[in-house]
Symmetry: C2
Subunit: 99 residues, 2 copies
DNA sequence: ACAAAATGTTGTAGTAGTACAACAATTCGT
DNA sequence: ACGAATTGTTGTACTACTACAACATTTTGT
């Protein structure tokens, strides 16, 4: 069955995360991160794009890896960009995912 | 199959939690908590005694319910009693679970 | 522009979290 | 001490997380 379809992460119980950003900041590929966390690299992909939520166990591993609290990485409500959080919002354009 | 047997929470990947304490502090029964969290009351039992780990989703619900960070409720390493954490350790006896 | 790396997609399969039910054991109020 | 509430046990079933594989698409380096 497809993953991104319907029965999985429908909008109500979606989980947002900053993994992609944290990876980017550190120049880590998914494989590299997955490797460090001892999980399959596709699992990182699934989690990053919200296809499903990690186990609490994995969330802890990720949290420890980045040295950040779980709440800084995962959230039930969308994250504000870290950049904004640090420098404030100077006239932001509509922040939609383009495609 | 039994739950507390073998294949589940063996000692390596056990997860400790303070749910029982938090419940006790608030005089909440498992059913009451389960009810508030919208889960089966037996699920709370399973989690409390470490039979299995909650999903991240549920961990978030619990965290929000108690108004505490996930890390204050769940940990990969055993918790120190909150009492000690607050008042310090004044000559503690061997803190084993008796029975 | 081309090759290599990174990411996305689809499909299959195993395991672990959760619900639910029925009943045993324990604890608690009066 | 008794009954009620709480907690523990066993068993069944479903769904979601994770692994893995093969291939399509996109991005990146030179």
């Amino acid at each position: 069955m497809e993953l991104g379809s319907n029965s999985d992460a429908r909008n109500g119980d979606r989980l947002y995360n900053r993994i992609a950003v944290l990876r980017a900041e550190r120049g880590l590929s998914r494989s590299a991160l997955a490797n460090a966390l001892q999980v399959n690299y596709q699992t990182i992909g699934y989690i990053e794009r919200g296809d499903f939520k990690p186990s609490l166990e994995l969330a802890f591993r990720i949290s420890e890896y980045f040295g950040l609290p779980i709440e800084a990485i995962f959230s039930r409500t969308p994250f504000r960009p870290l950049s904004e959080e640090v420098y404030g919002n100077h006239n932001a354009p509509p922040s939609g995912d383009s495609k």
